[in-house]
Amino acid sequence: MSVTSDTAAPGQSPALSLRREAEGAASALPPLLVAAEHLAATVQMGAHGRRRAGSGEEFWQYRPAHAGDELRFVDWRRSARSDSQYVRQREWQLAQSVHLWVDDAASMRFTGAESGRKARVTKSERARVLGLALAVLMVRGGERVGLTGPLAPPRPGRAQLMELAGLLSREAGVQDYGAPEIAGVTPQSRVVLLSDFFGDLGPIEAALGRLADRGVSGVMMQVLDPDEEAFPYDGRTIFQSMAGGLIHETRKAGDLRARYLDRLAARRDQLARLARSAGWQFSTHHTGDPAQAALLWLYSALERGR
């Protein structure tokens, strides 16, 4: 089609071209956030505001001082405007910080069905969406959300969501299996770990221990592809890890199924035991299932742990 018009001529307005560029640049970012927002919108939040006095930074109310109030709590400026003394109360703030760790290792980039009618997203995509959706919910509830790493300390507000979305949309790591980075976790905060936990359990165990020492509680969610749960393979096969680091060759993959499933169950048991001992919560989510259920579980698990 040929288009001739004043506005579409080569000398088009700078605003239009800027808009186009912006759309192109933002193309990668919004889908994750939109998906997360979309997912978060499906969760109906219960009453969340803690509308009462408590320790916090925001002003809540002045109340008449009564016996037992220390003098230093009296707000003299307010008291001076009347005959009685007033105490300045602050709103009780739930200074909860939530740290997300979304495993970005190569193993998360797996999906058992890349295309076709029953295509599934990769584990990584699902974990990111879950993490960001949780962040959306938390931000909406007024809490601070950040990553476990040093890059994004917990902050409130929607601006933080954009930042998180940017960080989560980054290129994935190159190592086969990920281990949580907990350098940025502040004491008494909450941590959400989203991974397939196929890697060495040692680092995970150590991280959990250190976090428990700091009084941090949290949630672990194992994100698996249905193929990893079913092991629908047969025949002579060379299994390779996603980054290619590990190789296992078998002549009859079908024979390995039962033993693989046993090991998977054992791994899950171990993880659950680990979580229990640290006072954490553990669950498994399959990419073949809808994400809402997982998000709901994550959200309520965080609520429970509070």
Binding site: M1, A8, R20, P232, I238, S241, R251, Y260, R263
Partner: protein
């Protein structure tokens, strides 16, 4: 060529490759099936697991066997195996090819020519001189050997003849010793032995003879009213053939009139009966074995099978009890066996259209003019004299060959005879010529002809004193014959004699017996009309010479007496290729003569079969390998299988219905009213919304305007004739399939014909029709093949702003600008006009992204399906959207009418002046 039993190999050394098979077996055995590589994160959990079975590392033995089988089949196939190869044993010396060349060899003549050609080619390569002799057409002088290559060129000149091999003078054989190849027609013949001896005396003789039975048909005859054809076979043929009776239909077109299966059961001779009505039977000209090109398979029919319809009338009243005195008694006796007799009054008889009418002693003909017409058209009228005729006044009778004197002549009458007179021998030009005149036939009385100069010309039989006994005159295409005596024994003994039926037969009144006796044919010259060639085709004889009847009766067909149809006067005789009384029996050859059967062992290359088997084995191997490595039953394998099945189905699918096959009911419905149509997108939800939107718009139009559209339709681009649609709404989705080229041609025709398409990207025109939105991209791709004029954002004074409502914007659920055909560059506002005079026609496309269908869409209860904007502002926007829809349809229907309206003041002003 190297032979292994009945199989020969053209490249036998390739078979050495079979020796490599055991080595390949060992190699294949050592190589396990190739593994699949899979990326799988769970491999961390697999590490350290051991396989339970080690056996699968090796390829199973049956798979190995299959592969070796495929390989072996390929090796053997390429070695060029041939079943029953023709082994040519090279001969020495000159080569003589003797062909029977008879009618029996015509059916497989091409094969014989092929055999002769191959033999001559071999001879040419070996540098042997050769000669060819056809026994049916024997050479008149001694044959000499010539170059075999030159003989190949002359082979087409040798054709099978429609007769048996003729006698051959051994002296005409070439000089010296030679090798002989005798192409036998497979029939036993007495003459064979002599020729064979003469040939064997000069060198080895090889016989080439097909094993198929030779079939032939004999002469047809009539038996109990049915047409009977004898059929002969040299040996009992395994499968039945069809025999067809061929003749001209009433329209004169030659066609098959009847057909019968020919089946030999026990005997080598059988008879076929065609039970046909006389009308049909008389039309038959030949009977042939269908699909057999041989003169022997054709039996020509002649008078012998033609039964004439003969009407016999007499002037005398029936006298009970006096059978022998009845004037027609002897006629009945003579004709009943060989003709179909009709009796009745002359008027009745004429309607039956007989071939011959015999009037016995009738003088006053009641229907003379009709009878005259009948004779003129080819009828044969035979009259017998009698007392009535003798005494009648015959001046008015035109149906007499000669003028008669009043009163008869009888013994002791006015012209008295001393003795009864005998018959004179028949003259040469008489149809009776050649018949023997018995002595005992005497004539006692007769009617006399007036002596006129042409009397002798008309006389075809006379008494010894020269007075005419039988006279004849041509009349038109027919003839009138008068016997000057009675038809009973009153005046003469002629009806009592054998001569009487013979004379009737000669007059072609009665049919003659199947095999014509010499006496039947003698005395006449028979001229060939049609002649058979060796392949059984009838050809015009041209100027072929006539044959005396005696020869025709007894001689066998040969070069001098070619088979065909011979006629003399009104009679015809068929001479068939198969001599009368001949029998067929298979030829038997002495044991020392090698007989080469042409059909028993045909050369059959096996290469294709073996290579096909190898390919099939490899295909099975592929499936087996897939099954072994677990790839046969995966999701991907299923997909591949599905794809393959779809491919196979697609190749068998019936050709797609031709375009423009719009269902008539649907076409009438669409054409009988304004119908808004939507283009299907493949997305069910979008399609549902467009239909609901068009429904809503139709309701709005119904309520507010005089346009009352029918229910909207979904366009079926493939089958529909788009001309019946007024307006097409085309929502764009990102993954919409593009129309086919033919459908694009339709769309272009629709746009050129004044149709309108409203493209709706439904994306609020975010990107200003750049490539930023998927729908925008798709729109560009979809619209590229369409004939769309230059576009521009709609100008403020476009006619679309005022076709019904006055509008400034055109919202749907969104409110973006829309694009229409660009105004001409030179459009200027005329003085005093509120609008420029823009396009003359209707813009063919309107493009926008405002998601109009959603704004228009109503559900079954007529309520809006989707919210538009917020609150009352939103409702206002929906109203404007509806108004845009109204304006758009008005624009489609009225074109630039509103544009013209702006000129009205100026026009009125002019008219006022």
């Amino acid at each position: 060529m190297w032979m292994l039993g009945p199989i020969g190999f053209t490249a036998p050394w390739l078979l050495l490759g079979l020796a490599a098979l055991p080595i390949i077996w060992l190699i294949l055995r050592a190589v396990p099936p190739a593994p699949i590589r899979r990326r799988f994160p769970g491999v961390a959990l697999l590490l350290g697991l051991k396989d339970e079975e080690v056996q699968a590392a090796r390829t199973p033995w049956w798979l190995l066997a299959l592969r070796l089988l495929a390989l072996a089949a390929a090796i053997i196939g390429f070695a060029g195996p041939v079943l029953n190869p023709q082994r040519a044993v090279p001969g020495t010396g000159p080569l003589l090819i003797v062909a029977d060349g008879s009618w029996a060899s015509a059916r497989d003549w091409p094969r014989r020519v092929e055999r002769m050609t191959s033999a001559l080619k071999d001879a040419q390569q070996a540098g042997r001189p050769a000669a060819v002799i056809s026994l049916a057409d024997p050479p008149p002088a001694q044959v000499s050997f010539t170059d075999a290559g030159a003989l190949i060129q002359s082979l087409p000149g040798i054709q099978p003849q429609p007769w048996a091999p003729q006698s051959f003078d051994a002296a005409n054989l070439p000089e010296g010793n030679f090798e002989t190849l005798w192409l036998s027609d497979g029939l036993a013949r007495d003459s064979r032995a002599g020729v064979l001896n003469a040939l064997e005396a000069r060198g080895p003789v090889k016989v080439w003879q097909p094993q198929l039975p030779v079939l032939a048909l004999g002469a047809a005859r009539i038996e109990d009213g049915a047409l009977v054809v004898p059929a002969l076979a040299s040996t009992i043929p395994p499968s039945p053939r069809d025999v067809a009776a061929v003749g001209r239909d009433p329209a004169g077109i030659e066609r098959e009139l009847a057909s019968q299966p020919l089946q030999f059961t026990d005997s080598r001779e059988t008879e076929l009966r065609f039970d046909l009505p006389p009308e049909l039977r008389n039309r038959i000209t030949r009977i042939e074995i269908t699909g057999m090109r041989s003169a022997g398979a054709v039996s020509l029919t002649d008078d012998a099978v033609k039964r004439r319809k003969v009407a016999i009338l007499s002037g005398a009243r029936d006298r009970e009890g006096l059978e022998l005195l009845s004037p027609t008694h002897y006629l009945h006796q003579a004709l009943a066996p060989t003709a179909d007799l009709i009796e009745g009054t002359l008027a009745d008889v004429l309607t039956a259209d007989p071939d011959v009418i015999i009037l016995a002693d009738m003088a006053d003909l009641p229907e003379q003019s009709k009878l005259h017409d009948w004779v003129e058209k080819g009828g044969l009228l035979i009259r017998f004299a009698g007392p009535r005729m003798a005494n009648a006044d015959l001046d008015a009778d035109t149906l007499l060959p000669v003028q008669l004197r009043a009163g008869g002549r009888s013994l002791g009458g006015t012209m008295s005879w001393g003795d009864p007179r005998a018959l004179a021998p028949f003259p040469e030009n008489s149809p009776f010529a050649g018949l023997q005149v018995p002595d005992d036939v005497t004539v006692k009385a007769q009617v006399m002809a007036e002596p006129t100069p042409d009397l002798s010309e008309h006389t075809i039989a006379a008494l010894t004193d020269g007075t005419p006994l039988v006279t004849r005159a041509k009349m038109g295409q027919g003839a009138v014959v008068l016997f000057h005596v009675t038809a009973n024994a009153e005046w003469s003994t002629l009806p009592l004699s054998l001569l009487f039926p013979q004379m009737l037969e000669r007059l072609a009144v009665s049919a003659r017996p199947a095999a014509p006796e010499e006496a039947d044919l003698a005395g006449q010259t028979w001229v060939p009309q049609k002649l058979l060639d060796g392949f059984g085709r009838l050809q015009d004889a041209g100027a072929a010479a006539g044959v005396p009847g005696e020869e025709l009766a007894k001689a066998e067909p040969g070069p001098k007496l070619r088979p065909g149809i011979y006629t003399a006067e009104d009679r015809s005789v068929a001479l068939n290729a198969l001599p009368r009384g001949a029998t067929l029996s298979p030829a038997s050859w002495p044991a020392n003569v090698p007989v080469e059967g042409a059909f028993e062992q045909r050369e059959m290359p096996l290469k294709g079969w073996l290579l096909g088997a190898a390919l099939a084995a490899l295909l099975i191997d592929i499936l087996a390998t897939l099954a072994l490595s677990g790839k046969l039953w995966g999701p991907r394998a299923m997909k591949a299988a599905g794809f393959g099945a779809a491919l196979i189905l697609a190749s068998f699918a019936p050709p797609q219905a031709h375009a423009e096959d719009m269902d008539p009911a649907r076409a009438i419905e669409a054409a009988s009213n304004v119908v808004l149509a939507a283009m299907p997108t493949g997305d069910a939800e979008v399609d549902r919304v467009s239909m609901a939107g068009l429904k809503g718009l139709s309701q709005v139009l119904n309520r507010r305007t005089t346009v009352e559209p029918s229910a909207p339709m979904m366009v079926d681009l493939k089958n529909d004739d788009l001309a019946v649609f007024t307006f097409i709404y085309w929502p764009i989705t990102a993954d919409q399939p593009a129309p086919s080229p033919m459908e694009y041609a339709k769309l272009n025709r629709y746009l050129r014909g004044g149709g309108m398409i409203l493209f709706d990207t439904r994306d609020a025109d975010i990107a200003g029709f750049g490539e930023a939105t998927p729908a925008g991209k798709r729109l560009q791709a979809l619209a590229a093949p369409l004939d769309i004029p230059p576009l521009a954002p709609i100008p403020d004074d476009h006619v679309l702003t005022r076709t019904f409502y006055l509008l400034q914007d055109f919202p749907g659920r969104y409110d973006g600008t829309i694009w229409v055909e660009a105004p001409p560059a030179d459009a200027e506002r005329a003085e005093g006009m509120p609008f420029r005079n823009l396009n003359d026609g209707v813009t063919p496309v309107v493009i926008g992204g405002n998601d109009w269908a959603s704004a228009w869409a109503v559900d079954d209860r007529g309520m809006p399906m989707f919210p538009v904007g917020r609150g009352r502002t939103g409702e206002r926007q929906r109203e404007i959207a509806d108004r845009f829809g109204v304006n758009l349809i008005m624009h489609v229907l009225t074109g630039n009418y509103k544009s013209d309206q702006v000129h009205v003041p100026a026009l009125l002003e002019r008219l006022g002046q």
